[in-house]
């Protein structure tokens, strides 16, 4: 514990900005939603296929895996930490579920238990990250990066050169089966989002995650077991990444090491675009999900309106930067330092 420093007296900002500050935070909360609506309207005008039930299903189905990942990541981001372990955890979960369920590589078939095992394995990764970060006080940037490498390493060993394809018919049903026109996995994602919202709003974990991210010193001085709740948040996130790994495996019908490639960056982008700040304490599950939809709609819409693949990357980048800039516009202040 740092001794009390005779720090600066907190500067008073005076009365003037209170109103505009309120307006700003409103925009920070609802700006991304506005951006999403605007994107949807634009694409509807430009492409007749965009605003169809079929495409909505398509968008929701495509967003499912990223949404699940982002729910887990959001809790870590709210703490003010970062998680770069997603690719590794998903790789290990993907390979282990594929090898534990009826598959082409071995005779093991644990059925549904295989999924439980993969999710538990993900939770173990999160637990390890949490314990290392809090116990040894290693920044989460490093621990999670290490965990990712470990996860990919384990997955590579499990892979052993031959892709295990899932042969379980039940899993095949989950991959292609639909309820109300949406794939079953989309309902899994919706379930995870609801669980995430409940955890955020109605449990101590959610409350404490925001408190720790907002002012860790205060959390300590309020008697919150900061280390424990950080570890719990990482563990929850790990379990969710494990589930995402399982979902990808079900979708693709086989366990691949690359199950999570690109997802880490996509999830961070989605969370930030949605208004969950990397500095912690702000945003939440709903914000992040709006971000996920923005990212997904963007990819989908650009393909539908026929933007050449050679410029799509650049167009996506421009739109994302523009969206973040518009959202952050009222928050900008003179002399505010942004790093």
């Amino acid at each position: 514990m740092a001794p009390a420093r005779l720090g600066q007296a907190p500067p008073e900002t005076g009365r003037a900005p209170a109103r505009s500050r309120r307006r700003a935070s409103l925009l920070a909360d609802y700006g991304p939603l506005g951006a999403l609506v605007l994107l949807c309207l634009t694409f509807s005008v430009l492409s007749p296929q965009f605003a169809t039930w079929g495409n909505l299903r398509n968008v929701l189905d495509s967003a499912a895996v990223l949404a699940v990942i982002t729910v887990g990541l959001t809790f870590v981001l709210m703490l003010g930490a970062i998680d770069l372990s997603i690719e590794g955890v998903m790789a290990t979960a993907a390979l282990s579920v594929a090898l534990l369920i009826a598959n082409t590589r071995n005779d093991i078939d644990l059925g549904f238990l295989a999924i439980v095992a993969a999710v538990a394995l993900g939770a173990c990764f999160g637990l390890a990250t949490g314990l290392l970060s809090t116990g040894l006080k290693i920044p989460s940037f490093m621990t999670t990066l290490g965990m990712s490498a470990i996860g990919i390493g384990i997955a590579t060993v499990l892979f052993a050169g031959v892709q295990p394809s899932v042969t379980s018919p039940a899993m095949g049903e989950w991959a292609s089966g639909q309820w109300f026109g949406l794939t079953r996995l989309t309902f899994v994602a919706i379930g995870v989002v609801i669980v995430g919202l409940l955890v955020q709003h109605y449990t101590r974990l959610g409350r404490y995650a925001r408190a720790i991210g907002g002012a860790e010193d205060l959390a300590l001085l309020s008697g919150i077991r900061v280390r424990r709740y950080k570890t719990i948040a990482f563990t929850f996130a790990g379990a969710v990444y494990g589930l995402a790994g399982v979902m990808v495996t079900i979708q693709l019908g086989s366990g691949i090491v690359q199950a999570g490639v690109g997802q880490n960056f996509a999830a961070i982008t989605a969370a930030v675009v949605g208004g969950t700040l990397l500095s912690g304490g702000r945003g939440g599950v709903l914000h992040s999900i709006v971000g996920v939809l923005i990212v997904t709609v963007l990819v989908n819409g650009l393909v539908l309106i026929g933007v050449s693949p050679y410029v799509q990357g650049a167009v996506q980048g421009v739109i994302v930067v523009a969206a973040v800039a518009i959202t952050a516009w009222p928050l900008r202040q003179r002399l505010r330092v942004v790093k």
Partner: protein, 508 residues
């Protein structure tokens, strides 16, 4: 204190500035003469900050004029103000911690110390040293800013402002924004001596919350209220009470420190501290704190009082024994201290006292979340009712219990922070580390009133305060600490309060 006939160095005439619907400055005029120290006082929101920002070019007036040495000027940014010879010593210190003193002093004004993008260290050091010599400082120009004490950093900032002389060939105007808020009393005295030296070569504007200081160092004092200057006083002709009355424009209800509500100390001992040590900072401290008592702790920076309080709260490791209501307790962590019914309000509200992005309600329930939980599940409606209740009881001015705490004014934020501990019926001891820091006069007296109410209900308080005057006025007794040891205990009953000097003598 003479008023020379020559034109003022700095003259602000009838400036106005509005932000949206709020008027920050409303026809303010004031002037600073050569080699004069001018005091500026006013409540938060009176326009001091806006005025200072205007003087260093961070804000532009909507109307009105600013004249420097007789010439009208318009400044857009600190760099232009510096070039004109106006510099500010910031309340939030503006030195860059990982640069050397020399680099800091000439930062942005390196001139011939940078040739072709490369630092010429020798020139840089020499020129920086020349500035430090002006104020007779012995600070090493090669020291890192972060290794300096707050007082030393302030001197470096003053040197930085003086460096503008080189460019303007005129005596600079030095703006000191709350310079003593980070200093202890003895350091402040050093600063005042420095200001005396400074006035031989510059004009000074001195802004402070501490009225005694303003009266001590200024030649003239302007009182700001609602964006304009309501009075121009000369120290010696007014006292603090008069200034305070001018600042808020009415008499405070009751006395500022609610002294009339200081109840006699009860005999029952609440906290018995024996042989308490915090490694390296304080040693074998003994004292008793009675039920309903406010025990002030006086001491300069480094006396170990902050660490002692943190130790009692379990935020620093301690040795020794603590007894609460006759039963031994151990406070190995804030968590265990809280379960022993101890609360703590830290000095750095923004960093340690509140989560600005969380709502008022969420901030209030933070340490006692179990009260509004059923198992792991939060009962948000119960939380809301509890918060609404306390918002009303403490008269916290907020749009709603769900508004982010950061959107409230400083005084209301602090009330919410106090509510956090008052929520618990079983609270026995509250440790207050500078609870009124950064608050304006009106907010301060409300906080004092709350502390009195708490003690009336039997809560004991350990208090560290911004000024000795405040500490003595609030406390039943004052524990004086020096170099990590308790050197004296001074009684401070109502009507027989010791003078600050009495306590100060024992501190140093």
């Amino acid at each position: 204190m003479s008023a020379p006939a020559e034109a003022p160095v700095l003259a602000v005439h009838d400036v106005r500035k509005t932000f949206g619907e709020t008027t920050a400055l409303d026809g303010l005029s004031f002037e600073v003469r050569r080699h004069e120290v001018v005091g500026l006082i006013g409540e938060n929101g009176a326009g001091k900050s806006t005025l200072l920002k205007m003087l260093i070019g961070l804000e532009q007036p909507d109307s009105g004029s600013i004249a420097l040495r007789g010439e009208q000027i318009k400044m857009r940014g600190i760099a232009q103000a510096g070039a004109a010879g106006i510099g500010m010593v910031f309340q939030e210190q503006s030195l860059i911690p990982n640069l050397t003193v020399a680099e800091n002093i000439l930062f942005g004004a390196e001139g011939d110390a940078i040739v072709g993008g490369m630092y010429r260290w020798k020139t840089l050091r020499q020129r920086a040293q020349a500035q430090l010599d002006k104020i007779g400082s012995t600070i090493d120009v090669d020291a890192m800013a972060e290794d300096l004490t707050f007082a030393e950093r302030q001197l470096v900032e003053i040197a930085k402002v003086l460096a503008t002389e080189e460019r303007t060939n005129a005596e600079p105007v030095v703006l000191l924004d709350e310079p003593t808020s980070v200093l202890d009393r003895d350091e402040a005295e050093v600063l005042f001596a420095q200001i005396e030296r400074l006035r031989t070569r510059a004009s000074v504007v001195f802004v402070s919350h501490r009225l005694d200081e303003v009266l001590q160092v200024s030649d003239r004092v302007y009182v700001l209220r609602n964006g304009s200057s309501v009075a121009e006083c000369v120290p010696g002709e007014v006292d603090e009470a008069e200034l305070r009355r001018l600042m808020i424009g009415r008499d405070l209800e009751g006395s500022h420190y609610s002294e009339e509500r200081q109840l006699p100390v009860q005999d029952e001992v609440r906290l018995r501290v024996r042989d308490l040590s915090v490694k390296g900072v304080c040693e074998s401290v003994d004292f008793d704190l009675h039920v309903g008592e406010i025990l002030g702790i006086a001491g300069v920076q480094g006396s170990g009082r902050e660490e002692l309080c943190r130790g009692i709260f379990g935020a620093s490791a301690t040795r020794g024994s603590l007894e609460m209501d006759g039963r031994p307790i151990r406070t190995s962590s804030p968590r265990s201290a809280i379960s022993s019914d101890i609360g703590f309000v830290p000095a750095e509200r923004r960093r340690e006292g509140m989560v600005g992005t969380m709502s008022v309600a969420e901030n209030i329930t933070l340490p006692h979340i179990a009260d509004v939980c059923a198992g792991p599940v939060l009962q948000r409606s119960k939380e809301r009712r509890l918060a609404d209740d306390w918002i009303e009881r403490l008269r916290i001015r907020t749009a709603s219990a769900a508004a982010p705490l950061a959107s409230l004014s400083g005084g209301n934020q602090q009330k919410a922070v106090l509510a956090r501990w008052m929520v618990s019926d079983s609270l026995k001891l509250l440790i207050l580390d500078h609870p009124t820091r950064g608050l304006d006069v009106g907010a301060k007296s409300e906080v004092y009133r709350l502390i009195r109410e708490l003690t009336a209900s039997g809560v004991s308080v350990l208090l560290m305060a911004d000024s000795l005057e405040e500490l003595i006025a609030m406390s039943h007794r004052v524990l004086v600490m020096k170099d990590g040891r308790v050197t004296d205990v001074v009684d401070a009953p109502v009507g027989a309060k010791p003078t600050p000097v009495t306590v100060l003598e024992r501190m140093i």
